[in-house]
Symmetry: C2
Subunit: 110 residues, 2 copies
Amino acid sequence: MNPDALRGHMDALLLSVVEAGPLHGYAIIEALQERSGGALSVPTGTVYPALRRLERVGHLSSEWATVGGRKRRTYRLTDSGRRQLEGERSAWRAFTSAIGSVLSPGPEAP
Amino acid sequence: MNPDALRGHMDALLLSVVEAGPLHGYAIIEALQERSGGALSVPTGTVYPALRRLERVGHLSSEWATVGGRKRRTYRLTDSGRRQLEGERSAWRAFTSAIGSVLSPGPEAP
DNA sequence: ACCTACATATAGAGAGCCTACATGTAGACT
DNA sequence: AGTCTACATGTAGGCTCTCTATATGTAGGT
């Protein structure tokens, strides 16, 4: 997967994964990989800063927890984040539709 | 359309538009807009450098022409570009599939 | 004279994703 | 005891692409 292709879609991915329930960073990375059938291997250096960014703008909130002697920062979707995710989903549909119509060869079926 | 979303998909778009036949930059911008139903308004400052880049790596070739007193640089898909376009299309399918499966809520249908 | 459409190009900014590196715990295996 | 892997978070710096803004010039209409 070309890294650049993910540009601008990372937010949607992260928000979508924490939608069902709170998750910590490491689990988010695993969930991303699992839900994409192994196609998405997003490095930690991408995910952790992105999560902080999403928290900074209010789409996520976080709290520390200690499980089995390990510290986890668990992220939760805020109301703002939920609205954002809705927007991201419709933007995604518009995006794929636009690119798809350019990429698909031949005349489109009416 | 969020500008960042196009990252890494510009090449596929440009190659796809010149697939049917040679076009010059300005016409490529119009074709992009038309074929996407108006969704894609890519600025000249994006397209012209991108076309030069694609020529530099060998996916496009260009030649100057003068039509109605105006100079045009007309781009044509090379063999390398044609192969690249094929790869871009399958990458696009993989990409939408991966993101889509993460974004779509609820359990997927088997 | 002025404005719009056509046509190409470059400089500089901005943002975000990646590679590497740094740090530390828990548990399994040798 | 020592080593290795999995778990877990984080930062610094680089890279590349897209965008904004600007520059330049022709053709044609009003």
